[in-house]
Amino acid sequence: MLGAIATWGLRFAAVVCGVMLLAATTRAQSSSEPGIHLGVATCSGSNCHGAMERPPGSAVPGDEFIIWSKRDKHRQAYTVLLEPRAVHMAQAIGLPDAAHQTLCLNCHADNVPPDRRGREFQLSDGVGCEACHGGASGWLGIHISGASHQQNVAAGLYPTDQPVARAEKCLSCHFGDSTRFVDHRLYGAGHPRLAFELDTYTAIEPAHFVVDQSYIDRKGRVGDVQVWAAGQAIALRRRMDALLDPRHVPHGLFPEFALFDCQSCHHPYDSLHAPLPSAGGLGPGTVKLYDANALMLGLAASRAAPEAARALAAHMLALDRATTENWPTVQKEAAAVRQIAGDLAPLLGSYDFTPDDMQALFEAQIRLGTASGDWRFSHGEQITMALEAIVANLKTAGYVGDEQAEAMTDALGPLYRSFLNDEFFRPSAFAKALKSLQLAPER
């Protein structure tokens, strides 16, 4: 995927950043695995992952550390905690600073306990190698001795190449889990909105792996659409986890607003924001749950698991309605949605999306975006990233030629531009840009 997507990522990095600049600094890391985190310096040797050019016989380009340290915002995740915005945020919620707080460090650094930090470990490295790939003490030895990928993984390397595993890891921060969650109090204090789509964000990170023959031989080929679909399933499951979390039961008047659609409230009220409500959904003037992941997952499953897709839609509708009724019903429906999303993740993460599937998915995305009804900024954002993942997949799988892929990628530009600023987002401009998109895979 990286050919097309990395190009896209570079070309549209500025555009994408306009949407989610600061959000990209928070990053999945996990501290649940047992190993010692040896530190970024352990990996960045010029014979290892800090090479200026590919070492002879190396299975990887060797420049992974250089890409991370120079271009990847994960590298800055800790240092942003020292900036005025972070200090302001900390003060707003009654903390003396941001850079010493578990609340912040759990996602802005590789915040493993002190007894699991090796000699070269630096908290200030931000979200470094082992935040995602796992503490290396158990596998570094075999890793530098030419072990296979499977052996590395068996010894404790985290399988970020697998869609579901990657989704779990990235979303543990880019949505959150039971130990880290950007709640609305933190948003209100100034935390940027967390926008995310696994496949697109892998590309614009930018990815520091190259899917070449050596990669495919060692790890197999994973399609962008699989990554996208697994990302949607895990994101939805995590959202339901959060909705079911006893800490997020409404306190007095306030539900946990972070679980709702940001633009449902944060929009200028001088525009006619809401068109006709969708059939059966919530009427005008109500705060709506964020549902873009569920919509995406429904489309992803519509051919692979049509019954699950239908059940998902029914439970999401019931969930939406329940928010204006009572919390026990919200929890009941959230549990049902959670189950479906959890079941779909492994299924879709390994599903063989055929060119026909992708064509149908592409068309379904366009239908969703051009249909009138209850339609939101968050939908447009996810539709656009879904289309990007489909185009990338068609290209890397050889279903479309370079030229055609480039033309399709170019056509995504107006889509991105139409929601560059959520304050001035107009569904009509987005729908117009969508209608002009064509997909005609070569067969």
Binding site: H88, L186, H251, G252, L253, P255, C262, G285, A322, W327
Partner: protein, 448 residues
Amino acid sequence: MTTGRFFATSFAGIAAALALLAAAATASAQSSDDGTHLGVATCAGDNCHGAVQRSKGSSVAQDEYRIWSQKDKHAQAFKMLGGDRGRLIAANLGLGDPQKAPICLDCHADNVAPTRRGPRFDIADGVGCETCHGGAVGWLGLHVSGASHAANIAAGMYPTDQPLARAQRCQSCHIGNPDNFVTHRIMGAGHPPMPFELDTYWAIEPAHDAIDAGYIARKGRPNDIQFWAVGQAIDLEKRMDLIIDPKNAPHGADPELSLFDCQACHHSMNDLQWRARASTGLGPGRLRLYDASAVMLQVVAARVAPDAAAALGSHLLALHRATEAAVPDYWTKVQAEAQQVRKAADALIPILAQHNFDKSDAMALAKALVASGIDGVDLDYSGAQQQTMALESVIAGMKSLGFADDAQIKGLNGALGGLYQVVANDQAYRPDAFAAALRQLGTKLPQQ
């Protein structure tokens, strides 16, 4: 008040930017039993209120109908229901024809019962004469025969010249009563927000009364500061009634959002907006009840009834706190605190309605308004908007009551223009810019 109030003309545009569409939804009579409404045509005769020129000996300018029909958005209130936006809102709400829906007509027309509509009554006249002045059937005879104002009132004309009565009438739509409240569902369907301040909106309506010697002889001299103060108290009282109303209790996780501060949610996520506000005690990321009228009322009460001001402040804080009480019956607590705030406002109303706001009051209130804005951190957009209109009312009072000379008024109005610029667009509002504009206005205040 057609005496050339600066902002009635110069800032109509800016005020309109705040309030343009909202102004169309307007004060309807709470005309429950004020007789038959004879219709606008009954009043618009060219010997009566539709004259091109004042007739000899007339106690009023007689162009009242012409001002209303040509300049006043109340005359368009019904028609605008049939426009694109009105129809869209009705469609979003599943209402059918908005020009037939009582929920719309109750404020967009003089929606009295059919049995109380005279032969010349026309619903399409929108918010017409009798919507505010009351059904004329009982007093028209006296009125055209030269009765005194007091005699007209005694016969059933509504006393819009009295601050309390005017506030009740205008604000019965320009906030609403429990039965004609613009809920968030209606807002979400496309209804514009409804900023209001009694004295300023009276001026920009534009008012069709001329405060000349004849007016003063018949009705006394109006005091803009008093209209402002009473308007704030009634606003607060009505808002508390809406909180107490069982219809507005939360449904599941969905509260009646129209009770809350619009910009608490409707703001950009791209700026760091939140600031600690001691008067709410709420942390970041919370919904915040609209409280601008309570904040204004505290400023005026601090001058005329300091004990009441303190009570109001503490009940207001308790009300805000109750909204985040982590208990199942939190809404009962919210309602109980709203009841307390309402009581505090209630106690202030007779004091404000009777207080003679003199020159020293005007100066003290102007200073207090400026200072509370600069010192305080309470400058939400809605607060700044009310503060701007409060200062306009105080300055208008200074002018009409002769508390400042022309040059001073000119300087103050110029500085007021700076405030209006800052609040012209809620999305672009910046508290520091507002504080700077307030400081500038402070330098123009006359030294006593």
